[in-house]
């Protein structure tokens, strides 16, 4: 009988349980384009969460290749990816499509500094999953200029942070930085002997902190896409997994921050 209701129809709909989350606007989520910068540990978790949350269009940016030392915290990377030194963005895109065959994933195997400005115009939201301050600052300034909301995550061992930047109203990543950030940034450049030789501290990193920070990033992103921005993090969230402490730290907009002076605000 055509048009008859089947008793199991609720189990046939992939997004039925998501639609039960009252504040979540699944139509908005399904039509959103997300830009994920960095396909390392945070990038793996963020893409997994975005795919399972129903996004259909994701662009992944990363020029790096899978190494065996990534395998303690990167959900989608396998031994064979490390052995064949495959591109991180390529592997992540391939495995994310396995989660949802309807997902369209574009990859840009570039540094964020090489992205065309139009990339910041064609997406609705950006996720910062980077491992260095220079790239963060670049993403921050371009996203702010193009009025692209940015949700940045960072980890260090069992600590992590999340900051939501919504231009032109909120403080940006640079507003929360000081000379110690710039010193590490400068050191990285001053030690550059060639394109592949630079100062790069090997940071402690493990999956439980990464999972928590990436989950917070994506949840804040879903709030923004669902027009629930008033429920978003207003400040910088610091998480300490050893002491089980979460601090929401107030960041003031820096009147001298060049990002705001040069933006469209």
């Amino acid at each position: 009988m055509a048009g008859a209701l089947r008793v199991d129809h609720l189990e046939e709909d992939r997004w039925e349980r998501s639609r039960r989350v009252g504040w979540l606007d699944m139509d908005a989520v399904r039509s959103a384009h997300a830009l994920v910068i960095g396909a390392g540990a945070l990038g793996n978790e963020v893409v997994k969460n975005l795919a399972l949350s129903g996004l259909k269009e994701i662009t992944i940016v990363d020029m790096d290749r899978v190494a065996r030392s990534n395998l303690n915290r990167c959900l989608f990377f396998r031994e064979e990816d490390a052995i064949s030194s495959r591109g991180k963005a390529e592997v992540l895109a391939e495995r994310a499509r396995e989660l949802d065959p309807q997902l369209h994933v574009r990859i840009l195997p570039n540094r964020v500094q090489e992205l065309d400005g139009s990339e910041f115009e064609r997406h609705h939201i950006a996720f910062g999953c980077l491992d260095n301050i220079a790239a963060r600052l670049h993403l921050n300034s371009y996203a702010y200029f193009h009025l692209l909301p940015l949700i940045d995550g960072g980890t260090l061992g069992t600590t992590g942070k999340v900051q939501v930047v919504v231009p032109p109203t909120t403080p940006c990543l640079q507003c929360a930085m000081n000379r110690t950030h710039l010193r590490v940034l400068e050191k990285r450049f001053s030690c550059t002997g060639s394109d592949t030789s630079y100062f790069e501290p090997k940071l402690a990193a493990e999956i439980t902190t990464t999972s928590i920070i990436a989950a917070l990033q994506v949840r804040e992103g879903l709030k923004l896409l669902s027009r629930q921005g008033d429920r978003c993090l207003r400040n910088l969230l610091h998480y300490n997994g050893l002491s089980n402490q979460v601090h929401e730290l107030e960041v003031a907009l820096d009147p001298d921050c060049p990002v705001h002076a040069g933006g469209r605000a």
Binding site: N178, T180, L249
Partner: protein
């Protein structure tokens, strides 16, 4: 005017007292404390209660007063 504050190391819980002048900057406090604890090169921030203090602010501008408790926190920059 000199103010005496206590800076806590968020990683270890240890503390150090610092004497500050009104024109000292927050980044000088960060560098002084990080140097005292021989921290690795890296990014650090300081909080006073719920406020993240801006590096360029002076002690006066940041409203740091006698007996304030500050905390030095490593800024997680890995991904």
């Amino acid at each position: 005017m000199t103010v005496r504050v206590r800076v806590r190391n968020a990683e270890t819980g240890s503390t150090v007292d610092m004497e500050l002048e009104g024109e000292n900057t927050v980044q000088e406090i960060i560098e002084g404390a990080a140097g005292y604890w021989e921290k690795d090169a890296g990014a650090y921030v300081i909080r006073k209660g719920k406020k993240l203090l801006r590096g360029q602010q002076t002690v006066q501008e940041a409203n740091i007063i006698m007996s304030d408790d500050l905390e030095l926190i490593p800024d997680p920059e890995g991904g």
